[in-house]
Structure formats: C-alpha cells, structure tokens
C-alpha cells in the first residue's frame, strides 16, 4: 500500500521524465506573473492618480472600470476575450490574453487600494503643502503620494499574490504554464506524479511571497483598528 502510494504520487522515473516540462511551465508562469505585476500595478496607480484630479466624467469611468473588473470572475473575462476577440477579427496569442486580462483585473483592485490610500491622507497635509507654495502636482508627488503608498504596501502585496496565482487559469485557454504542463503530463503518463510536481512548484514559487506578505502586514500594519 505504501509503495503503491509512492508509485502513484512520487514516481521517481516520472519525476525525471517530466522535470524539464514542469520547469518550462515555471518559466512561463514567472514571465506572465512578472509582466502582470508591472503593468497591473502601474495602470492601477495611474488610474488612481487620474481620479485625484476629480474630473467627474473621468472619475465615473474609472470607477465603472474598477467595479466591473472587481465584480467579474477572471475566468469569465478570460473566456470572453479568448473566444470572443477572434470572432471580430482580433487574434491574440493565448499568453497575451492571459496577461491582458490579469493586468486589467489587478489594475482595477490596485486603483481602489491606491485611491483609498490617497483619501486616507488628512486634508491638512494638502493644505500645509499648498501653503508652502507647492502646486497641486508637487503636493501630490512629494507630500501625499509618499505617505499614501506606504499604507498601501500590504494590501497591494496580498492582492498581487492572489491575482498572480490566477496564472493557473491559463491552463483553460492553453497557455503552457505549470498547471497546463502538469495536467498534460498526467494524462500522458496516467499517473498523479506530474500533478504533485506542479503543486510543489507552486508552493516553492509562492511560499516566499506569501511569507513576505505576512511580514509586510506586521511591518506596515495599518487599517486594522
């Protein structure tokens, strides 16, 4: 019984055979996750800053975008973009679809977090900075933003972890990331070892960030009252 378990979940021969495939998946996952983090957070910050100009129409559009992308399951968006766009003549490779959708979802959440951070800075900070002769942009860039960003570090980190883990959804549209490699290998080999390898790969990849998130939460602890 014991050896049967090892045979099926930790088969040494299969580990060796499928190690390169899983490793390739790890590379793809890291690539997509890294690009999503950069574009998602940057877009979210830009949207929050755009909202601080308080132009009604613009703010309404940003809120609409953020609400929709926070309310819809990422898998729904993924299927919509992946199967919908080719029918109107736009063909994107599947990894580009995954990157685009996850970036937009991350941007939506980050916009809300950055905006909450900007709002949490007391009005007095604005007034004091303006009274020293700084303009609106100067106040934003040198006084308000540095304080606001500090507060947003833990929630942004946690949200980013949740959304980069969604790279696994790429399996559904055929992106060659870890889960896709693992399930393919599993169906070829008729053995659960590749699935175990995939799970281990995710744990190795994400445990450090989860622990980092935990550390940042205590280090920058804020809105818990």
């Amino acid at each position: 019984m014991h050896s049967r378990f090892l045979e099926v979940f930790f088969n040494w021969e299969l580990i060796q055979r499928y190690f390169p495939a899983i490793l390739k998946g790890v590379g793809v996952t890291i690539e997509i996750a890294a690009t999503v983090v950069v574009t998602g957070i940057a877009t979210g910050l830009m949207l929050a800053l755009a909202r601080s100009f308080r132009v009604l129409a613009l703010s309404a559009l940003i809120v609409l975008f953020a609400d929709i992308f926070r309310a819809l399951p990422p898998l729904v968006l993924l299927l919509l973009v992946y199967f919908g766009l080719p029918n109107v003549g736009i063909n994107l490779p599947s990894f580009a679809v995954l990157w685009l959708v996850l970036s937009l979802v991350l941007a939506a959440f980050c916009e809300e977090i950055f905006w909450a951070g900007l709002l949490s800075i007391p009005k007095g900070q604005w007034e004091a900075a303006r009274s020293t002769g700084l303009g609106f942009l100067g106040t934003l860039a040198y006084v308000v933003l540095p304080q606001a960003l500090r507060l947003t570090v833990p929630p942004i980190t946690n949200r980013t972890i949740v959304i980069t883990k969604n790279t696994a959804l790429g399996m559904v549209i055929g992106v060659g990331e870890i889960l896709n490699q693992a399930t393919t290998a599993q169906s070829f080999s008729g053995n659960a070892t590749p699935l175990m390898m995939g799970a281990v790969a995710y744990v190795i990849l994400f445990i450090p960030v989860v622990v980092l998130g935990r550390f940042l939460e205590t280090r920058f602890g804020w809105r818990r009252i």
Binding site: F5, V8, F9, D67, I68, R70, A71, L72, P73, P74, L75, V76, L77, L79, L80, F83, G84, N87, V88, G89, E112, A116, L119, S120, I161, V162, K165, N166, T167, A168, L169, M171, V172, I178, L179, T183, Q186, N191, A192, L195, M196, G198, A199, Y202, V203, L205, F206, I207, V209, V210, V211, R214, R223, R224, I225
Partner: protein
C-alpha cells in the same frame, strides 16, 4: 460594429441560452450555500488554532494557512478531482469543489478572523473573564462580536471572491453558471452567452462590491 453586436450582444442567442444559464445560476447559488458556510466555519477553526497556547498547534495552523494560500485554487481543485482517484478515492465534482474550497477559503477567512480577534484589546478578555465567563463564552459573547464588526468589510469582500471563485468549478465539469454559458458558446460559436453570464455575475456582485468600497472608506476615515 455590426459584427461586434452580432458576436457579443446577440439578443436572440441570449434568449435561447437563458434557460440553460438560469439552471447554471441555480447550481452556482447551491455551490455558494455550500462553500461559504464551510469556509466561514473552517476559517474560524483555523483562526482559533493559530492562536492556540500550544506552540506546535499554532505553528501547524500557520504553516497550513500559508501552504494553502500559496497554491492556486484551480491547482488544488484539479489535484483533488483528478489526483485523488489515483489514491483510490473518487470524489464527485461537487465533493472535489467542496474539499478544495474548504482548504483554500478557510485559510483566507482564517487570516481575516485572526486579524479581527487581534484587534480586540486584551482588556476585553480580562474584563470578561473576571466577570466569571469561561474562555469559550468570552470568545463567543465578547470578543468575536467585536472582532467580526472590525473586519466586516474584509469578510464581505472575501465572500465576493469566493462567489467569483465558484466559476472555476466549470473546469471539473460542474454545470454552474460559467459552465452553462461556455457550453452555449461552443454550440452557437457566439460569445453572447458569456456576456449574459457576465451580466448575471455583475447583477449579483456589483452591489456588494460597492458596499465594500463604502464600508472600507468609512473605516479608513
């Protein structure tokens, strides 16, 4: 423009797909009624374990929480659904979803409860105990009500995430909302059913997303 309308907002296709999608919606709601209470209960258990006075228990709970927060829920689901049969256990897709969600969402709910419990001052514990309440009575009547109030926005927003997450059940062929929509899409070669599903998700979740934004702002202020 016409192609766009035909492809995404085709009313006659939406009309045909609607009954199927409503069946899917019912499955989604049943799924929510199953996994949200499971997650809330599991999370509370995990939170209490992570504050145990026995350090091995405390550490085991924290390692467990971080472990299941590091694994994407879809990976967990597929592991349970197509990995467990190799060990001789063959869960139905509903059982697989329930197990995977219990492990995943308990970890997230657990962290939220823990933050909530830690936000209640130690004086509350001391005062309650000194009136003669036991540990569990103190927890149930004094600490938890305040803790839950303090982290209510997080609890609600995590619940929104859980509802959204039920869409991954479609990958293991559980006929919930997204599964039904995708089936209609593959039959009609048209994306309108998915737009319709998205609209249903929006109607369900948008008010809650708004509510959370408001609650969060009130607490930040």
């Amino acid at each position: 423009m016409e192609a766009l309308r035909q492809q995404f907002f085709n009313l006659s296709i939406m009309q045909t797909a609607l009954p199927l999608l409503l069946l899917g919606l019912r499955q989604t709601l049943v799924l929510c009624l199953l996994v949200i209470p499971l997650g809330l209960a599991g999370g509370l258990a995990v939170a209490l374990l992570s504050r145990s006075s026995l350090s091995p228990v405390r550490w085991a709970a924290i390692v467990g929480i971080d472990f299941f927060r590091a694994i994407p829920p879809l990976v967990l689901l597929i592991f349970v659904y197509s990995g467990l049969p190799f060990a001789g256990v063959r869960p139905s897709s509903l059982a697989a979803v329930a197990i995977a969600f219990l492990l995943n969402t308990s970890s997230y709910y657990g962290e939220i409860y823990r933050a909530g419990i830690e936000s209640v001052g130690l004086g509350q514990w001391d005062a309650a105990r000194s009136t003669g309440l036991g540990y569990y009575q103190t927890l149930a009547y004094v600490v938890l009500p305040q803790a839950v109030r303090n982290v209510l926005p997080d609890l609600i927003s995590n619940t929104v995430e859980v509802v959204k997450l039920t869409s991954i059940a479609s990958v293991v062929a559980l006929p919930e909302l997204l599964y039904s929509a995708d089936m209609a899409r593959s039959v009609t070669f048209n994306s309108s059913p998915i737009i319709l599903a998205a609209a249903i998700y929006l109607v369900m979740l948008w008010p809650i997303v708004r509510l959370v934004s408001r609650l969060e702002r009130r607490i930040a202020a």
